[in-house]
Symmetry: D3
Subunit: 134 residues, 6 copies
Amino acid sequence: MKVCRRETFNAAHRLFNAHWSDEKNMEVFGKCSNPNFHGHNYVLETWIDGEIDEETGYVIDLKKLKDLIRDEISERFDHRNLNLDCVEFEKLKPSAENIAFVIWNILREKLDAKYGLSVRLWETENNVVEYSGQ
Amino acid sequence: MKVCRRETFNAAHRLFNAHWSDEKNMEVFGKCSNPNFHGHNYVLETWIDGEIDEETGYVIDLKKLKDLIRDEISERFDHRNLNLDCVEFEKLKPSAENIAFVIWNILREKLDAKYGLSVRLWETENNVVEYSGQ
Amino acid sequence: MKVCRRETFNAAHRLFNAHWSDEKNMEVFGKCSNPNFHGHNYVLETWIDGEIDEETGYVIDLKKLKDLIRDEISERFDHRNLNLDCVEFEKLKPSAENIAFVIWNILREKLDAKYGLSVRLWETENNVVEYSGQ
Amino acid sequence: MKVCRRETFNAAHRLFNAHWSDEKNMEVFGKCSNPNFHGHNYVLETWIDGEIDEETGYVIDLKKLKDLIRDEISERFDHRNLNLDCVEFEKLKPSAENIAFVIWNILREKLDAKYGLSVRLWETENNVVEYSGQ
Amino acid sequence: MKVCRRETFNAAHRLFNAHWSDEKNMEVFGKCSNPNFHGHNYVLETWIDGEIDEETGYVIDLKKLKDLIRDEISERFDHRNLNLDCVEFEKLKPSAENIAFVIWNILREKLDAKYGLSVRLWETENNVVEYSGQ
Amino acid sequence: MKVCRRETFNAAHRLFNAHWSDEKNMEVFGKCSNPNFHGHNYVLETWIDGEIDEETGYVIDLKKLKDLIRDEISERFDHRNLNLDCVEFEKLKPSAENIAFVIWNILREKLDAKYGLSVRLWETENNVVEYSGQ
């Protein structure tokens, strides 16, 4: 049985590779490498896989999952500049793929090992990524 | 090849554990345990897995699947109080997880064994569950 | 300039007219009159009409509007039975139209008179009502 | 790590089996077999499975995937009559299942073998199919 | 007080002007003029303006409005070719604007004069029209 | 008759008042005033009011409106930092209200005077503004 909580956060970011020239960055990342950043409304689905608890009828209390996402993800990334404000992206490019990877690792550490975990992240209404661990 | 039909139904429910005190029910279920019930617009996705029939181009006729969902699910649960009106939840708490479990079992019995079956159920726009059999 | 905050709440209700027979209630309201209630995820759009404040760039601070909706609307109606728990519907049928009418009047009284007010309420994804005062 | 690009195209089609009588076609396909065609706004999700490239943070450049979908899928099917204009459906009924099957095969051939591929196709907001290869 | 019912229908159409050359049609209408038609999932919002009936709490019974839309609009246009099958578009180009105009006139004639009427029609998720009478 | 084209753009911004202390900015704008910016996926609806042209069936060619929005709005604001990159917001705070005001004025100047114009701008899925001129 899988259960999911959907949350959103808004952040600024920029994609560029410090080892490349400006020309190469523009060629590969296009306007996503604009030096003054742009931003997105990120939509995060957190999927938990587990057994139903007979006493509650829940796999996990979604209010507690909501609080966990607020404390661990929204507090870190909401209304932030991912490149400048977030230590997680000091060396990692804040592509949607890497943001999902980082979120999965943060939540994985906080969740009971009995649960499976998968995250799905919309960067725009047309671009989505999904990560479930390797 | 998987195909899906999306349908909706509206129902009242309440989460509480009859073996617990009111305090414990409120602590665990919060406002979901309010004694006079609340309700949801449930959105149900029914996913069928099978082979394409060459004569029709269909895995399954989605009009027939729609009729099956109407006869077996909507007739049972639409505009009902899950706790008071539905024998399926006499002993089972009508959490989203358990509703999905019950729906899956009802549909599984009615569907040809050649088909795989998975159900996804939105309780709100932010809370979703998915069940595919154990 | 108009600005809008979108919020949701979940409630149980039942439509019936105490002056009518059960037959007439069933004839007019159909399954919406089922005695044990059903429920909905209501989606509420609150639209405010006013001038932009030069110092903030805001017509109204949407965080304050959000708090107002939480305190005045969600606290009253979220996870409630509109028929049994809410004094506002003791004599008024909790149809979507009347719920919108009640919400408009509650918010109108709390909002500065300089603002125009309109509310839009989705009862399901296919049924919507809108009220802007007479 | 999976990434997805969502695109849309609009097309006319008709479902019928040339080996069947008009009566049988109407019985099986209903109004979907109306002789003068009807149409849909198809929504296509293209999911790619692969490793994150360290230099870009991308599994695949979604702008390139977008261009590939435009060149190979939209150019072929957008604003077309699938039955009359598209060689792919000369012998294959243009059911959602078969359209997804055809799209998967077109994209599979164009994509680097290191990538996994899955396509999800909405024919209406209530009917969806998904194909990931056999 | 305004109330709305949302319904959908699927149809094929083509935009072209019989008094123009093929070149001019292609120049003005582009791929919308492809000779073998294309199609859309149309989403129709029907908005009714009126007083709340005290006995029911309704402006209009949305089940009756739903039936009216089914009988008068869906029966006419769903799974049809607007150019070939529908007398309403024999002389009128089936642009979204004209389809909304035709629907408004059909419903206006069937609705009690005490009601105001407005229709909103989505042709795609990005193109919408709205008509409320002149 | 009104017609609408929906487009999106992604931008970074920050709300703050240069005449205020950091404390007052934080008190009024909260995390929206974070110094390193955050961002949004803005959704813009451009509504045009006019007569149907008999030769085309169009109020306005939505492809031309789409091109106008791309040239005048997306080119200016997409993947930009509204505070740092856009001369329009040198002296004006880039609140949703002011962005809608600026967009309306840009489009108003480019549109034939025979058309009415209204813009609706979503900053998040819960915050929307609308401007139709004074």
